[in-house]
Symmetry: C3
Subunit: 200 residues, 3 copies
């Protein structure tokens, strides 16, 4: 059995897909990243190759589903934490597009500190694991793709093996909020179940 029903997974995928396109547009429009010709062998949507939006959408739904399958889902969360969480990640994504030309320690501290605050407000012990997972897996995947010549970070923002040192902080916040969305989807699904399933 899936930990989340298909309509939830689809909604989460779509949210991540759209947020990925929007955020990637921030980076491309400010020259924080740029795609090379080799990336254009696949279709582009807005400023992004289709696989990027698919990957962000898939990661959103995937992390949410993994979280929903784990115990200790917080039931006191309401839709505000979801709305605020998504808004926080979008604002942080937007902030990272302002950081070209700033000293590395400065931009990294600012993004990482804000990501930590997002965890303090919206996270728990379990979401910390998903934040850490995203903070490692996301940058590693981007380093591999950058080395493969598909895209590059600007020369002043490529300190971490070719990607920006603030990138783990951004992915960390993403992982925290994707896990939170999984908790909300799980508890919302529970409440929407037909009453018969609640009989003892």
């Amino acid at each position: 059995m899936l930990p989340l029903r298909p309509p939830y997974l689809l909604a989460l995928f779509t949210l991540g897909f759209g947020a990925g396109l929007l955020g990637d547009h921030f980076h491309v429009a400010t020259g924080t990243t740029r795609y090379f010709a080799s990336a254009h062998q696949v279709p582009f949507l807005a400023d992004s190759p289709l696989w990027f939006a698919l990957a962000v959408g898939g990661a959103t739904a995937g992390i949410a589903a993994m979280r929903a399958a784990l115990p200790d889902v917080r039931t006191a969360l309401d839709h505000r934490s979801a709305i605020g969480g998504v808004a926080s990640v979008l604002a942080l994504y937007a902030l990272t597009a302002f950081l070209r030309g700033t000293p590395t320690a400065l931009s990294t501290t600012m993004v990482s500190a804000l990501a930590v605050i997002i965890w303090c407000v919206l996270g728990d012990r379990t979401s910390l694991r998903f934040g850490a997972l995203a903070a490692v897996a996301g940058p590693v995947a981007e380093i591999v793709l950058a080395r493969a010549g598909l895209f590059a970070y600007a020369a002043d923002s490529d300190e971490l093996g070719g990607v920006a040192l603030w990138l783990p902080g951004l992915y960390f916040a993403f992982g925290i909020v994707a896990a939170l969305l999984g908790e909300l989807a799980a508890t919302h699904a529970d409440r929407s179940r037909p009453e018969s399933t609640a009989t003892a």
Copy 2:
């Protein structure tokens, strides 16, 4: 009977008046907006025509009074939510003066996402209506005045019929916090009433 007593209305008007002058100074000083000669036919205070500060002060007191007249005023709010709310709107106002030359989707997302977070923390279902009202009425009024030739937004910040696309987000946050101030003024007035009115 007024929903809020005159001393409260005056304090709210004065707060909005001052915040309007300060925020407008941010925009003028950074070239985000500029007033034309036609605007100078009325007296200026600091960088703003008198009517601008009067309008912001009046809108603050007006929204607060409208909110106070509605049911479901939250009684658990304390002075921190008022202080934090006003500080949030001022910080967001200041942020909008940093956004010249940034891609439209980036600046709009950043301001709107932060405005949504302000709602998540400080708002409720009723304040959402005042946020929406302000987000529509404020920019519409500014579009009309900009078309009348009184002022203009910078050429890189005038995508919404002559005003910035982040402007609804800023007004939204303003409406949320003005409604919150109305709730606090209403409950504070209640507590300050002579005891006799509390007799059954």
Copy 3:
């Protein structure tokens, strides 16, 4: 008797020491401040003279200890408030390094408003006093040292007797969070005490 045991004081000192070095690097790397030859008569660590890091570390431990000695220590605080508080001050410190060339009222309002929000979320009546103390003592000390010719703020950021007008806001947030750390250290120490002390 010390209000906080030595291991706590040492940890707080080390935290402040490190945060001071990091934040001062932000300012030096962006040209917000620069040290003159006369400052180099003492050893430097990273971009800072040793006394700066020692002073920030000492102020952190000192404020925390003073707070711990006062009544009404909040016992409901958890480690998240400490982590979020430290992250907030670091993010605000980083923000101040972005503000060169912006109008004084704009940068001052932004930093001060965010410092006030930090108080609204993490502070109480007592921490307000430590915030005020830091907001006065820190800038006064820096004004004295700047006048002594040890360092200077950039020409566009020296409106307050030679230091930036946003500096009190940054120190205010520092004082709020240092006091909070003192409360947490005091309650943590209580919990760690051998059980015998809890006997009636």
